[in-house]
């Protein structure tokens, strides 16, 4: 974003969406689940601090702030507390119900819900279809909430059109998907030229978790992405949009600002060297890593693989090198060819055990190989020459 003089600036807003507070992360260990779940509320602090640092005039939160319409109280209380603590007066925060947390009679956004009472007055909830909020004298926010979790309405096209002679900056905010693909049924579809059709200068969107700016530049539609990723393979997520509107009706300037604490990665290693390189490589404490191990290793290497994985994962006594690690080891296989030689200097009964396990490989390959590895490791740990 190029430098713009203060006198040129008509309006600054921070645009965020898809916090998914209260999201659970099944498939992870309990400890990892907690880390990832808590991170969702922690990033709100980062967002609010960014708003202060960037001196924005308003914070627009474009839906799916909660993972469900009726979050547990820890989540809505936590959010209300964080907002209240900021003590802003001239910086409205606008919360939009999305399809995950739609505005219904029992949802967290309903006027009768205690969450609403806990919110400071400068926090607004889009709880009407004709919601309008002037942002100073020269700008107007129009928004429309999702009222159900699934629907085919284009809320952007249902926003009021710019009236003739209205020269104010018009910002629209809705939740839905512009991602159109033949045969793919999406909820709350949004026409790609909705901003043009409704005479908006900026269309603040939420739903897609990856960063995306849709043309035209004069009136862009923007997905700021989820501030904390929610799963592997989401694309470019973990950011917010800081938007600057200039006077004289020029195109808004948009800056992507990274706020996430965690990075989600998927890595596949097919040899010991790659695994070593990963283990020795960049800092991974704030990484959620899905590690696919696809290799066939002789006992010694297999043992080393196990040790590295333990080092990455951590133990009861020590943190691992990776923040959150998921290992897929379906394709990690012990190479048992010639394994008899490994045990040949050991007592006869151990050799007989190894031979018997090798024979069992024909009927129970996986279990027998694992048992062979245990035998190898136990002998090795006891100083036997294997």
């Amino acid at each position: 974003m190029s430098e713009v003089g203060e006198e040129e600036v008509a309006l600054r807003v921070l645009h965020t969406a898809d916090w998914h507070l209260g999201r659970k992360f099944a498939g992870f260990d309990e400890a990892d689940r907690l880390k990832l779940t808590r991170a969702r509320l922690e990033v709100v602090d980062v967002i609010l601090s960014s708003a202060e640092r960037n001196r924005v005039d308003a914070v627009l939160c474009a839906g799916d702030l909660f993972d469900g319409p009726k979050p547990e109280s820890d989540w809505w209380k936590g959010l209300a507390d964080k907002l209240t603590l900021r003590g802003w007066k001239d910086r409205p925060v606008v919360l939009l119900p999305g399809n995950h947390d739609p505005l219904t009679e029992t949802s967290v956004y309903h006027p009768t819900h205690p969450f609403r009472a806990a919110l400071p007055p400068w926090v607004h909830v889009v709880d009407r279809d004709d919601f309008e909020l002037p942002l100073g004298d020269d700008a107007l926010l129009v928004a429309r909430p999702c009222r159900r979790q699934s629907g085919q309405d284009d809320n952007a096209l249902l926003l009021p059109a710019r009236e003739e002679g209205d020269t104010r900056i018009r910002i629209g905010m809705v939740h839905g998907s512009t991602f159109a693909m033949p045969g793919l049924q999406m909820d709350f579809p949004i026409a790609e030229d909705a901003a043009v059709q409704r005479g908006l200068d900026y269309l603040a969107l939420g739903d897609t978790h990856a960063w995306e700016v849709l043309p035209p530049a004069s009136c862009p539609a923007v997905y700021p992405s989820a501030p904390e990723p929610t799963k592997f393979g989401e694309g470019e997520s973990g950011s917010i949009a800081v938007v600057l509107f200039r006077r004289h009706g020029r195109s808004p300037q948009i800056r992507q600002e990274r706020v996430s604490a965690w990075r989600w990665r998927v890595e596949t290693v097919r040899d010991l060297e790659s695994l070593h390189a990963l283990a020795r490589g960049a800092e991974l404490r704030q990484t959620v890593l899905r590690l696919k191990v696809e290799m066939r290793a002789v006992p010694e290497d297999y043992h080393e693989v196990e040790q590295i994985l333990e080092q990455l994962k951590g133990t009861v006594a020590a943190h691992g090198r990776v923040g959150v690690l998921q290992v897929e080891r379906d394709d990690l296989e012990l190479d048992t060819r010639g394994i008899e030689q490994v045990f040949e200097d050991l007592p006869a009964v151990v050799q007989a055990t190894a031979r018997a396990l090798k024979e069992r490989e024909a009927t129970e390959p996986e279990v027998a190989r694992r048992a062979l590895f245990h035998l190898y490791r136990l002998c090795r740990e006891r100083g036997a020459r294997t």
């Binding site: 009222r147 699934s150 085919q152 999406m186 009964v349």
Partner: protein
């Protein structure tokens, strides 16, 4: 395993017994014949014997018809309590296994035969399930069964028992598992310990996966279940959303369809209305046009009729003119035809005149005469030609026959030469065959001689075999002389050994230990025997004495003491002989009986055979058996030699026949040229070569004879043919002479015969041609007359027909001309009338009007449809119906949109997808855990299997602790006990030398056996039953055992059945007079007064 309680009814001598056992040392005491051993048998039976076994018949209480029954309550290391109930009878027996968690409330677990299956599995004593093929019947033998429940009568049996008698591997496995802790290689042990530890985290002692929170399977399994449930919920939600979405889409489509229907209905209605208006306008103009067009058509038709009549009049006038011209032409033609008719009538008359007939008859006569002349010439020429042909044939035959006769003569000569050559070849073959026959004879002669020589060799061998057979029989007789006569048989020897053993046991039971102190109060000669051995030194006046036979503690001149186990005899000079025998009366009586039997049954044999003991007798019997074996071998060898000689002797029988044959052959060969035959044989020709050559020569001779015969046959045929040819030549010559022709003509005359034949042919042809020409002329003469008259008549007929046709045509032409003239007159009258009307018509004006109306009609639009009023009304009704349906569809869409409000849609799909991913990970994790712990289990099992297979340290494992204790007991007198891998205890190291355990005293053997049992029971942590097993043990060792048993009690339960409680207990351990039992040492020692715990039946159980 620990026994908690046994309840017995009607079991052998026990009417009823109930005993509660303590967890440690249980000493059940009471006098003999109380039923202690019966109680032990009951325990053995309830654990090991099937209720239907025939063995159980021994358990039936005497003087009672009640079935024996036993209930045994026991606990296992896993805390479970079981009660085995059996009633022994066939039929009517029953078994039941009950399970209890608290020892009070029992519930049935197994019944019938399944009880024994389950109990044997629980015990793990190496006894196969009764359902297993080949499983032992009755009380099954088993190493652990013998060790843990050994019978009183077989105290030392355990030393001879091995694992080999087990019917399955469970006993070995259990022992290996228990003993491995102190036997394995350190590495192996350590690996096994850790692997076992890991396995135990996941599996129970019985191998079942652990359940509950501590189980590693639980967490992952619950996670999988939780995610599966969540996924099912989400999928349901997705499906619900999809259904709603599909429903909405369906309603949307229906709405669109109904809107389209409505619009279609409206459009159709409008189209119909418009079409109806357009059609009405067009109908009016079309009517106007039709009227104008009709008028125009009438006018045009009138004009057309007038013109047509004008043309018809013109045509009629032209026809009249052409008709006049035609009639003129036809009149001319008729005249021509009339003249032709007249000419034809003249010609017919001329042909039928008399002059013409006369000329024709004259010419016919001339021609007939000429025909006769020509036929005569032709016959003459034919006769000449026939003679000439016959002569030609004869000459040809003569020539061919002469040539053939010459050729035949040459062939005859060739055949004669061939026959001569073949006859010579056959003769040569015949000579060679004679030589071969001689060679064969010579060969047979040689063969017979060789066979006689071979039989001479056989005769020598037969004599040698007979000689060797005689020698070996003599050897056998010599050995037989060495055998001692009247040796006891094997079974008699076994009976003696048993008697010896029984005697040893009986005498050992007498052993109570006697300490004898002899004080000499006066000078009297003393002598003594202790346990049958002389006690030396008693008569010695001074100096140390050596008393090796007994354990002499002190020796002095006046006071001597010695020990005896079973008894002693003290001879006091001539004054008295004191004989003291230890042991209870019954035991003494038994020993005495056995001694008597020994003296009566064994000693005479030993004395007769002059051997000291049964071992020596055993050796003698063994040597005798060896001698008998050798004798049998020698005799068998001699028989073999005789048999071989007999067989060979039978071969010699044919020697006489061979000699006769040889003499015959010699005679046959006398005077024969044998040299040529020898030459053949010198070429190493044998029978087969000679035979082959003979066959070849026979064949050659046969072929030559056949060639000769063929040539001779052909010669004879040629001679016959020559004769025929000569006859043919003669006949031909005679015929020629008859014909008047000379002897055969030369080649030059052949041309003359040909020229003559040609001449004759030419003459015949000329005659035939002339005859043909004359015949033709005759035929023409007849047919020419007929043709001339016919032609004239045909021409007349034709001329008359043409004339008639011309007359007819002329009449028709006249009629047509008259018709034309009449029609022309009519037309002229009509034309005159029409001319006035036509002059009044305005056709142009009518055409203009029609065109104007047509232009108007063309300007009007043509309706695409031609609707009816009815159709229009139907269209109005359709519009109304479609409107109603459209409104209904709109209502459905609104309703479906309302239903979508609470459904997840994309969120649900997204969540389901996430849950699927989570489930995949959780399932993988569950699988990883299963693989991990199954791997640990497999490792443990494989380690143990390998160890079992190796098995080499099992005996070692057992020998170590037993040796240690035995060494303590015997103050290090004995070294290491050797225990085989099958746990057979065989040898003991004594002063560095390996000695058989059987060499130990009975008392020492029973102590060693008890230690072995204690050790095994301790390692297994299971109950040990000792049924008066230390009867031969001295008080000092008994005291040592008492301490050991108390130690053992802290580790495992032991039940001692004894009539000497103080060998195992302190006085303070005994129950009070009014108590059945007493528990001491914190319950680890329990004394049970059997006399108060049992009710005996009528008679004494010989087993107890």
């Amino acid at each position: 395993m620990k026994l908690l309680r046994v309840e017995i009814e009607h079991f052998a001598c026990l009417r009823q017994a109930t005993v509660d056992f303590g967890p440690g040392l249980n000493v059940l005491y009471g006098p003999n014949d109380l039923g202690k051993s019966t109680l032990a048998r009951a325990i053995r039976a309830v654990l090991l014997l099937q209720h239907s076994s025939s063995v159980a018949r021994e358990f039936v209480e005497w003087e009672s018809d009640e079935s024996p029954s036993v209930q045994l309550t026991l606990s296992l290391p896993d805390g479970r309590i079981w009660r085995i109930e059996k009633r022994f009878a066939t039929p009517g027996g029953a078994s039941m296994l009950r399970e209890s968690a608290d020892g009070n409330t029992f519930s049935p677990f197994k019944r019938g035969r399944e009880v024994d299956d389950e109990v044997r599995r629980m015990l793990g004593w190496g006894i196969a399930s009764p359902a297993t093929k080949g499983a032992p019947r009755g009380l099954p033998p088993s190493f652990l069964g013998t060790v843990l429940l050994g019978e009183q009568a077989d105290v030392v049996g355990v030393l001879a028992q091995t694992l080999e008698s087990d019917s399955d591997e469970s006993g070995r496995t259990r022992l290996t598992s228990a003993l491995a802790a102190f036997a394995q290689d350190p590495l192996f042990k350590s690996v096994l310990e850790e692997a076992q530890g890991m396995m135990d985290k996941a599996f129970t002692g019985t191998g079942r996966p652990r359940k509950g929170k501590t189980s590693p399977f639980s967490e992952v399994s619950e996670e999988v279940k939780r995610i599966e449930a969540e996924l099912a919920r989400l999928r349901f939600k997705v499906e619900e959303g999809e259904s709603a979405r599909r429903a909405l889409a369906g309603h949307d489509r229906a709405l669109i369809e109904r809107l389209e229907v409505l619009e279609g209905a409206k459009e159709h209605h409008e189209e119909l209305t418009l079409a109806m208006d357009q059609a009405k306008a067009r109908r009016l103009v079309a009517q106007e046009l039709a009227q104008a067009t009709e008028r125009l058509a009438v006018e045009e038709a009138a004009l057309r009729v007038f013109a047509e009549r004008q043309i018809a009049l013109h045509d009629a006038q032209e026809g009249i003119e052409r008709g006049g011209q035609g009639i003129t032409k036809r009149v001319g033609e008729r005249e021509g035809f009339l003249a032709a008719e007249k000419a034809a009538e003249g010609a017919v008359r001329r042909a039928k005149s008399a002059e013409a007939e006369q000329a024709r008859q004259l010419r016919r006569g001339e021609l007939d005469k000429r025909v006769l002349e020509l036929k005569s010439d032709a016959k003459e020429v034919d006769e000449e030609r026939e003679v000439a042909e016959k002569a030609r044939v004869l000459r040809q035959t003569l020539l061919e026959s002469t040539t053939a006769a010459a050729e035949l003569e040459v062939s005859l000569e060739e055949e004669r030469a061939r026959a001569a050559e073949a006859a010579q070849s056959a003769g040569e073959a015949e000579e060679e065959l004679e030589r071969l026959a001689l060679a064969a004879l010579l060969l047979r002669h040689r063969g017979a001689q060789a066979e006689i020589d071979a039989l001479d060799v056989v005769r020598g061998e037969v004599e040698a075999d007979r000689l060797r057979a005689t020698e070996r029989r003599a050897e056998a007789d010599g050995l037989a002389a060495k055998i001692t006569e009247e040796l006891p048989t094997r079974s008699e020897l076994a009976a003696m050994r048993k008697l010896e053993h029984d005697l040893e046991v009986a005498e050992a039971r007498l052993g109570g230990g006697l300490a004898v102190v002899v004080e000499r109060l006066a000078a009297v000669e003393l002598s003594a025997t202790a346990d049958g051995e002389a006690v030396e030194g008693l008569t010695s006046a001074s100096g140390p004495v050596s008393l090796e036979a007994v354990s002499l503690e002190a020796v002095s001149l006046d006071a001597v003491s010695f020990d005896a186990e079973r008894g002693f005899t003290l001879q006091v000079g001539e004054l008295a002989r004191i004989t003291v025998t230890a042991g209870e009366r019954e035991a003494r009586r038994t020993a005495e009986d056995l001694r008597g039997r020994w003296q009566a049954e064994v000693v005479p044999t030993l004395e007769r055979l002059d051997v000291a003991d049964l071992a020596t007798l055993d050796d003698v019997v063994g040597e005798s058996a060896e001698l008998e074996r050798q004798i049998a071998e020698e005799r068998k060898a001699a028989e073999g030699l005789d048999e071989r000689a007999s067989i060979r002797e039978r071969q010699l029988d044919k020697r006489v026949a061979l000699e006769e044959e040889l003499a015959t052959l010699t005679r046959e060969l006398e005077g024969k040229p044998v040299e040529t035959a020898r030459a053949i044989l010198d070429d190493d020709a044998g029978d087969d070569v000679i035979e082959a050559r003979r066959v070849a020569l026979e064949a050659k001779r046969g072929a030559s004879l056949r060639v000769r015969d063929g040539a001779e046959e052909r010669g004879r045929a040629a001679q016959m043919e020559g004769r025929v040819l000569a006859e043919r030549i003669d006949t031909a010559r005679a015929s020629l002479e008859q014909l008047g022709l000379a002897e055969p003509l030369g080649d030059g005359e052949a041309g003359g015969w040909e020229a003559r034949k040609a001449e004759l042919d030419a003459r015949a042809s000329a005659v035939a041609a002339e005859l043909e020409r004359v015949g033709e002329e005759l035929r023409e003469l007849v047919t020419g007359q007929n043709d001339e008259i016919g032609a004239a008549e045909a021409a007349l007929e034709q001329a008359r027909a043409r004339l008639a046709k011309a007359d007819l045509g002329l009449g028709e032409a006249d009629d047509a001309l008259d018709l034309l003239k009449a029609k022309a007159g009519e037309l002229r009258g009509e034309l005159k009338n029409q001319k006035e009307q036509i002059d009044k018509l305005d056709v142009e004006a009518s055409e203009a009007q029609v065109n104007e109306i047509r232009a108007r009609l063309a300007e009007l639009p043509a309706p695409p449809l031609a609707p009816t009023e009815e159709q229009l009304r139907a269209a109005e009704a359709s519009v109304a119906e479609a409107t109603a349906k459209h409104e209904a569809a709109k209502a459905e869409v609104q309703k479906a949109q309302g239903a979508m409000r609470s459904l997840g849609g994309h969120i649900a799909r997204e969540n389901a997808k996430t849950a699927e991913g989570s489930l995949r990970i959780a399932v993988q994790k569950e699988r990883d855990v299963e693989v991990e712990f199954n791997a640990w289990r497999l490792l443990v099992e494989t380690l143990r299997e390998a160890e079992n297979t190796e098995g080499q340290h099992l005996g070692e494992a057992l020998s170590q602790p037993v040796t240690k204790r035995f060494s303590e007991l015997t103050s290090g007198r004995y070294g290491k006990l050797e225990v085989a891998s099958n746990l057979g205890a065989s040898e003991l190291n004594v002063s560095g030398v390996q000695r058989s355990i059987k060499k130990l005293s009975v008392g020492t053997q029973e102590q060693l056996a008890t230690l072995l049992r204690l050790t095994i029971a301790e390692e297994l942590g299971t109950t040990l039953l000792l049924d008066d097993h230390l009867t031969q043990t001295d008080p000092e060792r008994s005291a040592w055992f008492r301490d050991v048993l108390r130690e053992h009690a802290a580790k495992a339960q032991v039940i001692v059945l004894t009539c000497r409680p103080l060998h195992y207990l302190q006085q303070s351990d005994m129950p009070a007079e009014d108590e059945v039992s007493a528990s001491r040492a914190a319950g680890l020692v329990r004394a049970i007064d059997m006399s108060k715990a049992v009710v005996r039946g009528g008679l004494v159980d010989p087993a107890g």
